[in-house]
Amino acid sequence: MLNATDKRLLEEIADLHSIPQGAFNIRKNGQGVERNTTVNIDIITKKDKPGIDIIIKPGTKGESVHIPVILSEGMDDLVYNTFEVGAGADVLIVAGCGIHNSGSKKAQHDGIHEFFVRKGARMKYVEKHYGEGDGKGERVLNPKTIIEVEEDAVAELEMIQIKGVDRTVRDTEVRLHKNARLVVSERLLTYLDQTAESNITVEMIGDDATAQVVSRSVAQGTSKQLFHLNLRGYAKCRGHIQCDSIIMHDARVASIPEISAYHSQAELIHEAAIGKIASEQLIKLMSLGLTEKEAEDTILQGFLK
């Protein structure tokens, strides 16, 4: 059963106020607690290892799948989830992990998500990570995401982690086939002494594949962030990485974009910037009547939107 804390975590990570419509699977402390399937979307528990297979029939339009994970005590949780998005389907998948750790033991969730976006399909994947609890136990999240985007298919990823998670290493690997498209938007905010590492590797192996990766982060307190965004073009393709960080207090940010072309018609661009909040922005908002703190919050909220 879900208690009040669970419901709050669900709201944070999946924007869910109650049990969702459509297909869903809610996992709590290493156990599946509730599941719903639809005519077009099936969810099957894996037999050989912990995790589920989500199978979306070809041509499924406008449906969504929610697969939130919540941890409310110190434990290690490791899941393998496989998503099969059938040809021509158009779906929204919302994953996310919320940790409420009020104890002193470490709570860790490592998820390996593997996606097959079949020919001509469109998938929007939203992943939110959120941690809370006053205990000394660390909240650790290490998601690994592997995506195969087939011919003419589109994958749009929104990956958000705002405060709350103490240690994280995020690995994302994407392969784009002919005329496949990828749009990634990553948002990260760390504070206190948190550490976050994000490695994104995109391989464009088919002609006319396109990739756009936009990563924005804010590092506060004494937190540390490391970004390694890597774009590889093996065909006539276009790719753009943009990595933008606001650094505050005594935080550290390292941003290492990498682009490699293995084809004379690959067009790859990277941009990376790290800097403090521009004082002109603060002064402008203060001249509209906001205090310095309010101005700062408004700028950060916009930046991470």
Binding site: R216, D244, E280, K284, M286, S287, L288, Q301, F303
Partner: protein, 251 residues
């Protein structure tokens, strides 16, 4: 009414201390348009920023309707009814035109926002939901900046070179907006400008040079002076001597 009494400003830059403003005395009345003009680097923007509280005077006093606001913070002056349209406004990633105008007006009324954008020559439909980011041209950004000041209920509105980057057709529209502001509201309007059309709006011209008020004059006088300079020297606009009477040249 806004008064500056013996206001001096010293800033510390790369070259050490610089005396930017020297004993500025000004009285700016309600329902008047003041155009501040003068050579670049003369201190016009610094006067505007000192009124807004962005620079704090090293000496002197600033009074708003008799109240001493010299030590007030920027946001406190904003609440008291002072507004400043920046010469080079910043861009904001992730903040939409709608949000910045709502922050300015403190209200949430789309209808008014449309009027505001119309006043600066922009179509609300195309702009309200656009992010104020690098996709904005200099001129577009400038118009939004002016709109953020028009949105507010102000006692003193300062516009720093509002015409810069704005096409001639829109300057006409903008000048009408300034005249409307003067007529409709009990507002003191200060415009920093070199544009003839804007100078023609002025009830008074304030000449600023070398950190001082070098004169307070009428628009007729200043326009006559410009005509005089033009007739004395046809090369004035391109001349490094600025067409001054004592410039050394072969005319």
């Amino acid at each position: 009414m806004l008064e500056l009494k013996d206001v001096s400003l010293t800033l510390v830059g790369d070259k050490g201390q610089v005396e930017v403003l020297k004993e500025i005395n000004l009285t700016l009345k309600n329902k008047k348009i003041y155009v501040m003009t003068g050579p670049n680097g003369g201190g016009k923007s610094s006067i505007g920023k000192t009124i807004m509280g962005i620079f704090r005077p090293t000496a002197g006093q600033i009074l708003l309707d008799g109240m001493d606001i010299t030590q007030k913070e920027i946001y406190e002056r904003a609440h008291l009814g002072i507004g400043y349209a920046f010469q080079q406004p910043p861009r904001f990633k992730g903040i939409k035109v709608r949000q910045i105008l709502e922050l300015s007006s403190g209200k949430n009324q789309t209808e008014n926002l449309c009027d505001l954008l119309y006043d600066v020559g922009l179509c609300a439909q195309n702009y309200l939901d656009r992010e104020l980011n690098a996709s904005f041209s200099g001129g577009e950004l400038k118009r939004i900046e002016i709109a953020t000041v028009l949105a507010r209920d102000l006692k003193v509105a300062i516009f720093d070179e509002p015409e810069a980057g704005i096409d001639l057709w829109s300057i006409q529209r903008l000048t009408e907006t300034f005249v409307n502001l003067r007529e409709k509201y009990d507002m003191t309007i200060v415009i920093i400008s070199h544009q003839e059309r804007i100078i023609k709006l002025a009830d008074q011209i304030i000449l600023v040079a070398e950190g001082r008020i070098s004169g307070i004059t009428s628009q007729e006088k200043i326009l006559e002076d410009i005509r005089q300079l033009d007739s004395d020297c046809r090369c004035r606009k391109d001349c490094i001597g600025g067409g001054l009477k004592n410039a050394k040249c072969d005319r």
